[in-house]
Symmetry: C2
Subunit: 666 residues, 2 copies
């Protein structure tokens, strides 16, 4: 596989061979509209077909066309009049007797339909008599870059930024366009290119100093239906406005934001809005003026309202200067404690962006209790596509099972998280995992996470198996041995990673700052609110009503579920409970033995995945084979380090040997 | 006290009031020589007297002089002919009937004698009929700056460099002169201004790019009897010479060093030589060419020989990429294993610079086994004046007791370390603790370490009590309440610091990298060879013959002493032994209880020292009082963190409570 910038193009170029008759159908198309806005869609169709099998599409009269493209308005007649109508940004793909109609609810819908048609064909998956009608599950499908204008990416593992360098913009337009097309092909419609931690230079992104360049980026993304959301610094009125305060209730501050927003929209009339990390990890925010988060968010929302803009306001607010001695504070409580009391107070164009778990993208956490608890507030589910705690794109870790667990969690308030998409949850945001890396994502197989994030934000009901199957067929072609093995490797990767790193919901056993590699007590006595409190007898935190009370933030049924050690999901047992090492799990193993077993098993899985990859050596382009094999080498070393450090740590604490007599270092 | 750059001047200006008759004696002086080289000594005398009591010294004929100054050659007649003659750089101060003779063995000796006379007077300590004859114990009394040309100082806690900034020289000449005078006043005669880790820019210090400026620095220090020793990069032939190798046995490399050395001496004819950190913590060295340290050091020594230069070659060589799983490697063995087999192979102008302990300037380590083991090699004792692991000049820690323990250690090979001064040990080197800080040392009281280092390199038999008494009188004047309390605080500071940080010789329980604050397992699973291996039952490393064999590097008597838990000094018990927490110390306490007790006691001592300082509030200049009080505030917080983290760590490991029921966090 050519590790191309144009990932979407390579997806189209992969193995599945179309029949000649299908090629004929595809080669003759018509756009049922003279709307110039839609011509771009036809161009993308033509371009896609050319990439797939080299043919030049002929634009023919409607009657001769194999493929008809249009929006509902013009093309309704091509569809059965059965009332199945896609909603905003949705599409219907309808095949009947060798004719294919792709009908978008709107311009974006048509574009998504075209990409979907071509990608289905590339996977060999367009059924006869296809009738696919889809509408995206949430309105805002956002990717958040944590790129700094230095060029460095916070928690980036795929090279430097494709947008910035040396405290300024620096980008290759073709690469940005390739990126936009790839994002659109998986359904992303909103993009933040700068880090939520808005440093000195980045604060000026919303000023005339950088707006011309930011507008140019917006221009490049616009044709693909992608709007920019800019991370702003809450202290901008002081930092760039020369005001003495950034108090959201101060009239001068409000006026400043109004004027600044007007300026921004003059440059970027379709800006999506602002993304804000406030009062979080030393970032400025309304708390420093004795105001609350509704005061802060609404002030910005008012400034954005006239332009249809939104505020995405992050809920990652907690005490990051905690004293480890204080056992009354429990960081996982923080988002709920800070935000739920404000339910109903946020303006309609505010979306609270909530991390999937109450901590911070750990390998295994429960789902945040905010979903369902804030019924009068728009919420966004935020997940981390970049693998900060999940292997940093050296270790393979397909995050699809993790996200599935989140989406299928039954909040009992009522329904699953996925059920709330489109109602309480109006957005999904992912922290981007791409950079200047030739394959975009550092580890070539980490592409599955970007692909899968897009697909899930479109349709949260998709299973990891379905998405993995799509991805491997697009990325590796039609040889079932190759796609089968790679799908198998991807499916095993998260359970394996969890096995060697994070037993039973114990979090934070990583090297501080860096967040790669084991360090069981690395965060133990720090100010970050991240404790295991392992002793010679027990480990974990009691988060039930008898303990920190965190479980009471859930619906009563879930409080009961989590509070009872018999019903608490075992993968989360030590997240919710403090238990002796001798505590017996359902299968009769002690917690200690479970820790040992999973460590050994995780490492064996890493070996097995590497070995399975090795069997594909002759079936995969050498450069790609080598790139992945090299990373498996790093992963193996890491998995062994995790196995040995964690085993030794708990062996030293307990003095109890592995029942199976495997090697544990003293 | 004015926190002046000119510390020596302030020492002279402090409290003790001279009698009028003594003032008269001092105000009339003669230099018994027309040697221009000695006129600088007279100037320093005149300057000193002016600083002490404002008088202008009159230079009078010998017969009218109260003070006679000269070298042995000219002034022998002023002394009793009793055969007491100072050696190189030494002096004799002789008082008889109101006349004082200061006679140096040479120019440097005269200068040291003058400084000593004035400082004794400032302390009110010149006895009637004084007859003080002293010769420095070692030839090379060196201070090593770890200043980088960026201006940052590695392990510096007193501001930025006084020599460098922004990858170039940057210095105030007056400040450098003040510094030179202060160093000379305490007996330092050798100075390295650049870090032993020689980075890219610093490698060029020995090239024409920087030699003019380095020579200017040498010019400023020269009058004070201080010669420069430059830290060089062993890979210089490649890095700045354009050669393909730096192999010490390669003729081209040898010629390159010869030519480069010739160039250097053209600029600085009295350069002391080179300081080298090779094959250490990723620095280049002879090992990478399959050569040994004698090959490397002797190659440089040959180049320096024609100019009388020396090589100071550091013995800080160990495996810094150790696998923690490998219990056969024991880092403390490294210096001995690397260097003792080479005894007798080093050129006569090579001095091996050995850290005081086998690890790295820990709060409590045994003395390195190299002293006495290398009888045919010149050795230097290296200590760390800057407080890397000993409180970073936020916590008060007078290092004099630590150094006394080193100097008075009986090697049995034979004699103490101090006994070897002037024979096997020909140099003492200290890592500097000064920077741009107004008081030179960040913490004002950390001056005592710089003062004490100089005094001990001159006379290793001085006790901490003697040196402390000298320092407090010079720095704080003659009020016995003030000097008594400050001396008390200084004397308590190291035992207190050891108490809250480092029980029974357990090392490395610090935050990695930073080296301040507790982190018991911070270095446990790392590559640095720094392990405690604490379990729920026992802690420490068995370094006897039955363990790693480290004790066998000592003389047999000491091997026996350390190997036997009954005779092993208790402060080092867990350095040498792996023992259960229930092991009983001589006083009947268990190891665990000792750990608890010392933590509480250390913190109480920190409180007591701070309280004692508070009682001096009205007797000390407010700015100085506040500067120290502020640091005591930081120290208290640190002491509590140490107490609580270490106690909790061992409580969690053992589940055994404090016998006295004091607060230990769970």
């Amino acid at each position: 596989m050519k590790q191309s910038y144009a990932l979407y193009d390579t997806w189209l170029q992969r193995g599945y061979t179309l029949s000649e008759s299908m090629k004929t159908v595809l080669s003759q198309a018509v756009l049922l509209s003279e709307d110039q806005q839609l011509e771009f869609c036809m161009k993308e169709y033509i371009r896609g077909v050319r990439r797939m099998f080299g043919a030049e599409v002929q634009q023919v009269p409607k009657e001769q066309a194999g493929v008809l493209l249009g929006t509902l308005e013009q093309a309704a007649k091509c569809l059965p009049q059965d009332g199945k109508t896609p909603g905003a940004e949705g599409f219907r793909i309808y095949e009947n007797g060798g004719h294919i109609a792709v009908v978008g609810a709107d311009r974006s819908g048509l574009l998504y339909g075209i990409y979907r048609l071509l990608m289905l064909l590339a996977q060999g998956k367009l059924p006869e008599n296809a009738d696919i009608c889809e509408t995206p599950a949430v309105q805002v499908r956002a990717l958040n870059h944590w790129d700094n204008m230095s060029g460095q990416i916070e928690r980036g593992y795929a090279g430097e930024s494709i947008f910035f360098k040396d405290e300024d913009f620096c980008f290759e337009e073709q690469r940005v366009v390739d990126y936009a097309r790839m994002l659109a092909s998986v359904g992303i419609n909103t993009l933040t290119i700068n880090n939520v931690n808005v440093h000195q230079t980045e604060t000026f992104l919303i000023s005339e100093r950088f707006l011309p360049k930011l507008a140019r980026i917006a221009d490049l993304f616009r044709p693909f239906g992608i709007r920019l959301l800019v991370s702003i610094n809450f202290a901008s009125p002081m930092r760039i406005g020369g005001l003495a305060t950034s108090d959201p209730l101060d009239e001068g501050v409000q006026h400043w934001w109004e004027r600044q927003t007007e300026l921004i929209y003059r440059w970027i009339p379709d800006l999506c809005g602002f993304l804000v990390k406030a009062d979080s990890e030393h970032e400025p925010g309304p708390y420093q003026y004795g105001r609350n988060h509704a005061d802060g968010a609404n002030m910005l929302a008012r400034a954005l309202k006239p332009y249809g803009g939104i505020v995405m306001w992050r809920c990652f607010v907690y005490d990051c200067a905690q004293d480890w001695r204080n056992q009354k504070i429990d960081r996982p409580r923080a988002a709920y404690d800070n935000f739920v009391p404000l339910d109903g107070q946020f303006a309609d164009n505010v979306i609270l962006q909530v991390k999937n778990g109450p901590y911070d993208f750990q390998v295994r956490e429960p789902v945040t209790p905010l979903f369902g608890a804030m019924k009068q507030t728009h919420l966004a589910l935020e997940v981390q596509v970049t693998q900060e705690y999940t292997g940093q794109q050296r270790d393979l870790c397909s995050l699809l099972p993790l996200w599935q667990d989140v989406l299928q969690f039954d909040t009992k308030r009522p329904g699953t998280v996925a059920d709330m998409f489109g109602s309480q949850i109006t957005a999904m945001a992912g922290v981007a995992n791409i950079g200047k890396s030739e394959c975009w994502t550092g580890h070539p197989l980490a592409q599955v996470n970007l692909y899968g994030f897009g697909r899930l934000s479109w349709n949260p009901a998709l299973t990891p198996e379905e998405i993995t199957d799509e991805y491997v067929k697009l990325a590796f072609g039609s040889d079932p041995e190759v796609t089968g093995k790679i799908a198998d490797i991807l499916q095993r990767s998260y359970p394996a990673y969890e096995d060697y790193t994070s037993p039973l919901g114990l979090c934070w056993m990583v090297n501080p700052g860096y967040h790669y590699g084991p360090n069981v007590e690395g965060y133990e006595y720090t100010r970050w609110g991240t404790y295991l409190r392992a002793t010679c007898r027990e480990v974990g935190i009691d988060r039930t009503a008898a303990g920190t009370g965190y479980t009471t933030q859930y619906a009563p049924e879930n409080d009961t579920l989590f509070s009872n050690t018999d019903t608490c999901p075992e993968k989360l047992l030590l997240f919710f409970h403090r238990l002796p090492y001798s505590y017996k799990l359902h299968d009769g193993r002690t917690i200690l033995q479970y820790i040992y077993d999973t460590r050994f098993h995780g490492e064996e899985e890493a070996e097995a995945m590497a070995a399975e990859w090795d069997t594909l050596k002759d079936k995969i382009a050498p450069s790609l084979y080598e790139a992945v094999a090299e990373r498996f080498g790093m992963q193996l070393e890491n998995a062994r380090e995790w196995r040995d450090v964690v085993n030794t740590y708990f062996y030293r604490h307990t003095g109890i040997a592995d029942e199976k007599g495997r090697k544990i270092y003293k």
